[in-house]
C-alpha cells in the first residue's frame, strides 16, 4: 500500500538508526504521545534499536486509557438501559469501569454495537427511530471532526434519538502538565501526526518556546518515527528547541481548516478529568449548548456519578513516562490484557498492553525463567 509500505523499508531504517547513533553524544529521553506511535515503536523494536543513546518513554497517548472513570460509568449506565442502543469503537468495550465494562453489559443483554465511524451510529439512529442511539465519542482531536460532523448532521436532520457521550481529550494540555511536573525527565516530544493533521502544530511551537523543549510532528510508520527521532536528536545536540514537521505528507502548520471549522461550530473547550491523572483545565471538548438535545450528558439524567478509584496500579506514572510498565508489581501477573487493572493495559494502544504483548520475554529473562 502506497505511503505505507515504503515507510517500512528495513534498509532505510538501518540507515536512520546509524545516523541517530552517530549524532548522539549523550543520552536523551524522548516521549511519543500517540498510542498508535507506541504500537509501531514496540512492534518494530525501534526503542531497542535506538537505545542506549535514546531512551523512549511512552506518554498518555491513548484516549481510551485516559477516559475518566466517571465517564465510563456513565456509559455503562446508559448502555444498560433497555431502550438504548449504545454504539462504540471496539477498543472501549473492555475498559473497566468501577464495577463492569461494556462487554459485560452486552453479555447481560445490553444493546451494545461496535462501529467503525460515528456516521455508522448515525445510520443506526435513522434506521431505528423508535430507539435512542448513543455514540461514545472518545478520542483525541483527530476524531473530533468526524464526531462534529455526525452531531451537525443529526441536528440538521432533526434526529432527536441520536446523542453522543463526549470524552474528547486534547494533547497540548497534557504535554504542558508533563512539562510542568518537577519529576519530568522528557527532553523532546514526538508530536502526534494525525492530531496535528487536524489541528496543525502552532500549539507545539508555543510549548517548545515556553519550555525550551523540542517537538517534532511524527507519522506512524517505522521510518516516520526514526526520522522524527533523528530530527529531535539533531535539535537537542544543537541546543535548539523548535517545532518541526516530519510528517509533511499529511501535516500542514495550520492543520485542516474545514475540519476545524466544523469542530468549532459543534464543540467548545472544557475542563476534563483524565483517568489516572486528574483534572486538567481546558483539556477536553464538550458540545455547545445549542446541541444539547444531542448531548448524552444532558439528555440522560444520570445523577451524580462518583467513581471509586482505589490506589493500586501505577498507570499514572506510566502515562507520565515516569515508570515503565514492567516497573509495576502487578504487571503481567495480576494485571494482563485479560484482567486489566488499569487502562493502559486494556487498550491495544496502551503502553502496558504494548509492553505485555511484545516484550514479556525480556521480563522472563530478567526473572531467570
Amino acid at each position: 500500500m502506497k505511503y505505507l509500505d515504503e515507510y517500512r523499508d528495513p534498509k532505510i531504517a538501518r540507515a536512520l538508526v546509524e545516523q541517530i547513533r552517530a549524532r548522539v553524544t549523550r543520552p536523551w529521553v524522548l516521549m511519543e504521545i500517540c498510542g498508535g506511535q507506541t504500537h509501531t515503536l514496540m512492534r518494530y523494536g525501534i526503542d531497542e534499536l535506538v537505545a542506549p543513546g535514546v531512551e523512549l518513554v511512552h506518554g498518555p497517548g491513548c484516549p481510551v486509557c485516559v477516559t475518566a472513570l466517571e465517564t465510563i460509568d456513565k456509559a455503562l449506565a446508559i448502555a444498560s438501559r433497555p431502550d438504548i442502543t449504545f454504539a462504540s469503537y471496539g477498543d472501549m468495550l473492555r475498559v473497566p469501569g468501577s464495577h463492569s465494562d461494556l462487554f459485560r453489559v452486552k453479555a447481560s443483554g445490553g444493546d451494545v454495537r461496535i462501529v467503525y465511524s460515528p456516521m455508522d451510529a448515525l445510520k443506526l439512529a435513522r434506521a431505528m427511530p423508535e430507539r435512542k442511539v448513543v455514540f461514545f465519542a472518545v478520542g483525541f482531536e483527530t476524531t473530533a471532526p468526524a464526531n462534529a460532523m455526525a452531531v451537525w448532521q443529526a441536528h440538521r436532520e432533526g434526529l432527536a434519538n441520536f446523542s453522543v457521550l463526549v470524552s474528547h481529550v486534547l494533547v497540548p494540555p497534557a504535554i504542558r502538565l508533563l512539562l510542568e511536573s518537577p519529576a519530568n525527565r522528557v527532553q523532546g516530544f514526538i508530536a502526534p501526526g494525525h492530531v496535528c493533521t487536524v489541528m496543525g502544530y502552532r500549539e507545539y511551537e508555543e510549548l517548545a518556546r515556553e519550555f525550551h523543549v523540542p517537538m517534532v510532528v511524527g507519522g506512524f510508520e517505522p521510518l516516520d518515527l526514526l526520522e522524527a527521532i533523528l530530527m529531535l536528536v539533531g535539535q537537542l545536540e544543537d541546543g535548539r528547541a523548535e517545532a518541526e514537521n516530519q510528517y509533511v505528507r499529511s501535516v500542514a502548520r495550520e492543520g485542516n481548516a474545514p475540519a476545524r471549522r466544523i469542530m468549532d461550530r459543534v464543540f467548545e473547550v472544557a475542563d476534563r478529568k483524565w483517568r489516572g491523572i486528574g483534572d486538567i483545565g481546558q483539556s477536553g471538548y464538550r458540545l455547545r449548548p445549542e446541541f444539547a438535545m444531542h448531548d448524552a450528558e444532558r439528555v440522560f439524567d444520570l445523577g451524580a456519578v462518583t467513581a471509586e478509584e482505589p490506589a493500586e496500579c501505577i498507570s499514572a506514572l506510566v502515562l507520565q513516562g515516569l515508570k515503565k510498565p514492567p516497573d509495576c508489581s502487578a504487571f503481567g501477573t495480576r494485571c494482563t490484557p485479560e484482567t486489566p487493572m488499569g487502562a493502559p493495559m486494556v487498550s491495544t494502544e496502551g503502553a502496558c498492553a504494548a509492553y505485555y504483548v511484545y516484550r514479556r520475554h525480556e521480563l522472563l529473562t530478567l526473572a531467570g525463567n
Partner: protein, 350 residues
Amino acid sequence: MPVSIEQFVCPAPLAANDTVLLGHGSGGRLSAELVRDVFLPALGNSILGELEDQATLDVGGARIAFTTDSFVVKPLFFRGGDIGSLAVYGTINDLAVGGADPLFLSAAFIIEEGLPMETLRRVARSMGEAATAAGVRIVTADTKVVEKGSGDGLFVNTTGIGVLRPGVALSASNARAGDQVILSGYIGDHGMAILSEREGLEFDMPIGSDSAPLHTLTRAMLDAGTGIRAMRDPTRGGLASTLNEIAVQSGVTIEIEETAIPIREEVKGACELLGLDPLHVANEGKLVAVVAPEAAGAVLNTMHGHRLGADACIIGTVSGTARKLVLMRTSFGSTRVIDMLAGDQLPRIC
C-alpha cells in the same frame, strides 16, 4: 491547579468473570481459561486433559481418533464455502492433524424457527458434496428447532471418528529443540473472507475462505516417513494461538521469521484497514507441522507436491530454551513476542 503525582490512582480490578463473554469463544486465552477452569475440573480425565484437537482412544485394541466441533459462522454462506462445507472440512481436519484417517461424521443441527427451507437445503447439499468429495460419510444426525429469537439461523455441531495410523503418535507436547516449524500456506484468508462479507468490504480481488479438507495432505506427509512431531490447524485465534499452544504444551520456545510467513496482499490490506493482526486471524485449510530437522526437507517436498501444500514453507524453529513463548524476528531484526489472542477480535468466525 497543579496536579500532584502522589494523588494518582488506578481503577479497581474487576472480579473473575461471572458471566460468559464473547471472548471466551475466540480460541485464544479466554477460551483456554474456560476449558481449564470450568470443563476440565468437572469432566476431567487424562484424555481430555491432553487438550489435543482430537482424542486418541483405545477401543478393543484399535486406535480410534474422536473429535467434536461446533460451527456458528455468520454469515452462513460466504466466498469459498458455507457453514455446511466448513463443518465437514473442519471436523476432518481435527482428525487429520492428529494423524488419523477420517471415516465417519455425525451432524447435529440447531435451527432457528423461520429459517428458509431453501437455506437448509443448500447447507445440507453442500455438506453432502463436501463429505463425498473428501471420502467420508455422515452416518448419524440430529435436528432441533428453537423458537425464533432463541438461536441465530443455524448452528451445526459435529463429531468425527477416524482410525489412527499405526506407529503415529502426534502431539502438541512433542516439540523439541531443533525441530522445524512448517506452515502449509497463506494465512488469514478465512477470517478476512468472513469479516469482509460482514463489513461489506469491496475488494478488487475478493478474499475467499481457504476452507478445505487436509487429510490427503497429512496422509502424504506421514507417508513420507517419520519425523513429524505434531500438526495443528490454526483456526480460531490464528497461527499465533496455535504456536503458543504448542510452545506451552511442549514447554519450548518457538522462534519464527516475520519475512517467512506468507500473507496475501489483500489480507494484509484488509487487516491494515481494520486494525487486525493476520497472525490472529482464523484459517480453515492450513496446517502447522513441527518436524524433526532431518525430516523437514522431505516433508516440505512432499507438501509441495500436493495442491494444499504448494505454498508450504519453513517459518521457524523450536529453540532450546524452556520459556514457553513464541518469538518473532521482525523484518527490522528486532524480536517481539507473539501472543495468543486475548479477547475476541472476530466473533462468529468459524
